[in-house]
Amino acid sequence: MADSGAAESLLQRLDQADGGVDSQQVAASLGVDHQLVVGAVKSLQALGEVICAELRSSKHWEVTEEGKEIVEKGSHEARVFSCIPAEGMAQSQLMTLPSGKVGFSKAMSNKWIKLDKTAEGGPRIYKSVDSIEDTVKDRLQLVQRGQAGSLEEKEKNELKKRKLLSEVTVKSYWITKGCSFSTTVTKQETELTPEMLASGAWRDKKFKPYNFDALGIIPDCGHLHPLMKVRTQFRQIFLEMGFTEMPTNNFIESSFWNFDALFQPQQHPARDQHDTFFLSDPAIATEFPLDYLERVKRVHSEGGYGSQGYKYDWKIEEAQKNILRTHTTAVSARMLYRLAQQEEFTPVKYFSIDRVFRNETLDATHLAEFHQVEGVVADYGLTLGDLMGVLHQFFIKLGITKLRFKPAFNPYTEPSMEVFSYHEGLKKWVEVGNSGVFRPEMLLPMGLPEGVSVIAWGLSLERPTMIKYGINNIRELVGHKVNLQMVYDSPVCRLDS
């Protein structure tokens, strides 16, 4: 506390006062500087409810230095008057006096003195009245005594114009008793201690108030990566919808499962060196279900199953080439093939979220690897309307309600639809995923029954995450260049809010 003496004196004044006290008055009556009282007010406020203090500002009149001299010695005009003898005084002599110039003109206008310009030896001044009343001095005296209120505004302004009075703004506190008022100041405790709890001393202690505007200390903890948090939510959504997770832990895939099984012709641009990572070691896959491979070869090169086929020379060497899978649909193909080998078909719903690889040109939104989210439903009699209905439900869970579908082309789905959602921020429709019904040329060679339809859709995990967390450069999200502070600070992921 700045000065506990001042605080205690203040509290005593307040105790005796009726209602409240003014800090200025307290300072005046204690004969101390006002700032000292202000300090006492602040420190008492910090104790809680001991006092209430209301900041007030008031204007009041103060006598200037020159004014004080006048109160002491009289106004300039009075001093001039009093020094003029009965026989008068030469004007030139009068002007040499300290109050000469100002006093002369004021005394003249008060008609206290007169000037004889024709007198011998130059102009001469005489008293024109016998006695005077020095109102200037009287009024200043009143102000000095704190009775400025008894003067009229006009009078005060005149004195202000003569720089004898000045109007000053005074800030002061109007201090009243607080609800826990006491005349003694006890020392405040900062925290509860075990000793206080044991002794019960906490009952009598005063505790220093907390600053609730300050931030707390962030707990010392680990953090999950934002993209993985989003992955967890997508997984959750699929599980809620009854989808079973596919084993996608095989980054290396043969061209056969990645392309040929999906009825993607061997000359397709996606199978180009510019788009796909091929492996030099292990360069080729060696084991395939041979009868199935034959059926795939036939549907590509000759057609069948109601298809014209692509009518080209299908080569097993192309199918054998190992690659880093370009989509998780390669795994879906393996799963559907496995399903077709069951004695009896059972409907399935599959999903996966895992890495895929593209040998593409990299930019702010494209990396050579990203996570693909994929959903697949296989059952008898599924329709295009079913695909759109399932997608609608899926996207509602992602917080996206406005969907529309655009016809598109994809080698292994027909019909194929691009999924667009209305982006409220951008005020336009943006592509959010791809979908379709797997082609019979893909399903029938696997051995799936004719009436079974398989609907599927896919999207990237990174794109919704970047939108969700407001990240513009994908490298700030994925890979080693991530800013860990961003990871530390990222909120939980609730996709539907």
């Binding site: 919808m241 070691d281 360069a283 896959a285 199953y305 880093l324 309307g385 759109m388 080693h480």
Partner: protein, 589 residues
């Protein structure tokens, strides 16, 4: 997806009405196209080369329209207009017919057996009495370019040559010769070159250099001559200058040479169906005869019309609507597939024209019915498919462990599965041959040389990128690495690893050791030799000697932990001691 650039006003004139940009965009969306960009030649040049160069360029407004990759019939203004007009029922699809020439003798293209070594197929046709304008001519050239880029797979499968028939005389011979024996004046050059000289000349040509590789290392190059020995073209590189077409050309000889004859037929059909519109007898194409070695002859273009019968019931069930056969036939007709109801059983006969080579199965017809109906007019339904969901056990374990490792104070990193050889070998004091790494054949940069064999390199790079963060840094990742494995069909397998690093002013072996203990606690594995887990001093060049231990669980080695070797720390550009844990979690399934 190919992008076709058309002049807006010309497009509207052909469509017979004007659209606002929004209206046209909507029409595209409905039809499966995308109005990608609205621009002008001036805009394009100014964007690519600056305003100065753009001065004087045309500011005619261009629509850039994305076309589905299998709709070769929409790759030019003519095709787009025809497709949209039929879709909007403003016109009927024309019927394309092959006609014999007035004098009865078709143009002949004779293929010699040498072509088998390099480019064995060819097809041909004639557009008779065609009238070009500047716009039509440009579109004709542009269509060939689009076909070359797409269905022709950058000319590897098919190359198109178009010639002014009045400057040459058949029969034509498609043969293959040693490069030095081929000499001619190529398109837009002023002198003759031999084939090797040409290949050299085009090495620096921004456009043609991309096609040289197709024949470069072949013993013979394909070449087409007329009966007077004039070179028509040296496919797939360049045409001869002699027979080049111009605005005044009346009769066009079209040849397509190919390695894939199916594609060659499609390409020829596309060119002639699109541009026969401008012949005196619109939509007629004059036949040409192709004579194969050993005497087989074929007449082209095939212009095949194929008929498929499909029931309305089938389409209704696949799409999920309930339309009458008549209504479905009407929908299909709007998609350029002339259809009529036959019989009482809801059968619809669908005629697939030569322009719709993309229709290879009934499912393609189903899609067109749904498109014409409008995908967004379909009722969205939820299938009654009842299934029980299951998690993939390895992912389930991973999810559970991730949560608890974060709770243990470690922060999750997410690093790339692909990296450089250096990252997994040299920088970790290892020899690449000891890593079982799978190698990528065609990486564009060193960042994609191998699939990672350890998560450690990625974590250390993450630390290096975050050296400004307050210490200690405690990171983990649970993800897959890839290891060669001969027992798998593809010769490699993924392996799910848990890796963690502790980076601080002191190595903190006890911290990383504590994390192992905690992990084992989470996996309900007790310390112990037999059924539990234990660690045992080990030598590993990645770690500081005497500061590395091997982790054993259930009697098998599952990984290592220890203080990293100072060389490793330096190579990852780190400045503090660091300890690490790297274990396989698959044994705990």
């Amino acid at each position: 997806m190919p992008t076709v650039s058309v002049k807006r006003d010309l497009l509207f004139e052909s469509l017979g009405r004007e659209y606002t940009d929004e209206e046209f965009d909507e029409l595209c969306f409905e039809f499966g196209l995308e109005l990608d960009e609205i621009t002008s030649e001036k805009d394009i040049i100014s964007k690519e080369q600056g305003d100065v160069k753009a001065e004087g360029a045309s500011d005619v407004i261009l629509y850039k329209i994305d076309v589905p990759a299998n709709r070769y019939d929409l790759l030019c203004l003519e095709g787009l207009v025809r497709g949209l007009q039929v879709f909007k029922e403003r016109t009927e699809a024309p019927r394309y017919t092959r006609v014999n020439p007035a004098d009865g003798e078709p143009q002949k293209l004779i293929i010699t057996e040498e072509t088998a070594l390099v480019r064995p197929h060819a097809v041909a046709a004639v557009l008779r009495n065609i009238t070009f304008t500047k716009d039509r001519y440009e579109s004709f050239i542009e269509l060939q370019e689009k076909l070359h880029q797409n269905v022709c797979r950058k000319r590897t499968l098919v190359a198109i040559g178009t010639h002014d028939l009045d400057t040459i005389s058949g029969p034509f011979t498609f043969t293959a010769k040693p490069p030095a024996d081929i000499k001619f004046k190529p398109l837009n050059q002023s002198k003759e070159y031999t084939a090797p000289e040409l290949m050299n000349l085009y090495k620096t040509d921004s456009h043609l250099r991309h096609f040289l590789h197709i024949i470069e290392d072949k013993p013979v190059y394909p070449v087409i001559y007329d009966s007077n020995g004039i070179v028509l073209s040296m496919p797939p590189i360049i045409n001869g200058d002699h027979s080049k077409i111009s605005l005044n050309t009346k009769n066009v000889f079209i040849e397509c040479t190919a390695t894939d004859v199916t594609k060659a037929k499609i390409v020829l059909d596309m060119v002639v169906t699109m541009f026969s519109e401008y012949c005196d007898k619109p939509f007629t194409v004059e036949a040409a005869e192709v004579v194969y070695p050993y005497g087989k002859t074929c007449i082209y273009p095939e212009l095949p019309y194929r008929k498929e019968t499909i029931t309305s019931d089938f389409i209704n069930k696949k799409v999920g609507f309930n339309e009458t056969p008549e209504s479905i036939a009407k929908l299909l007709t709007r998609m350029y597939l002339k259809s009529e109801v036959i019989g009482e059983g809801g059968e619809i006969e669908v005629e697939i024209p030569p322009t719709r080579s993309d229709i290879i199965h009934a499912c393609d017809i189903v899609e067109d019915a749904a498109m014409a109906y409008g995908f967004n007019n379909l009722k969205r339904t939820i299938p009654r498919t009842y299934t029980i969901a299951n998690q993939f056990p390895l992912n389930k374990l991973t999810e559970l462990l991730r949560q608890d490792l974060a709770a243990a104070g470690f922060t999750e990193a997410l690093t790339f599965a692909l990296c450089s050889q250096e990252d997994i070998a040299e920088k970790l004091n290892k020899d690449i041959s000891s890593t079982k790494a799978a190698h990528i054949a065609n990486p564009k940069t060193a960042e994609f040389q191998v699939a990672r064999t350890t998560l450690l390199a990625g974590l250390l790079k993450t630390v290096a990128a975050n050296r400004k963060m307050p210490l200690p840094l405690k990171l983990f990742e649970i993800s897959d690495v890839v290891l060669k494995d001969e027992t798998r069909d593809v010769g490699a397998r993924n392996n799910r690893r848990l890796c963690a690093v502790y980076y601080n002013k002191s190595p903190g072996f006890e911290v990383i050791h504590g994390l192992l203990d905690r992990t084992m606690q989470l996996l309900d594995v007790k310390p112990g030799r037999e059924k539990g887990y234990y660690i045992q001093a080990a030598e590993d060049s990645t770690f500081f000697p005497g500061r590395c231990a091997e982790v054993f669980a259930h009697g098998q080695s599952i990984g290592r932990l220890g203080v990293l070797h100072p060389d490793v720390i330096n190579k990852f550009e780190l400045t503090m001691p660091c300890s690490a844990l790297d274990i396989d979690i698959e044994p705990f399934l």
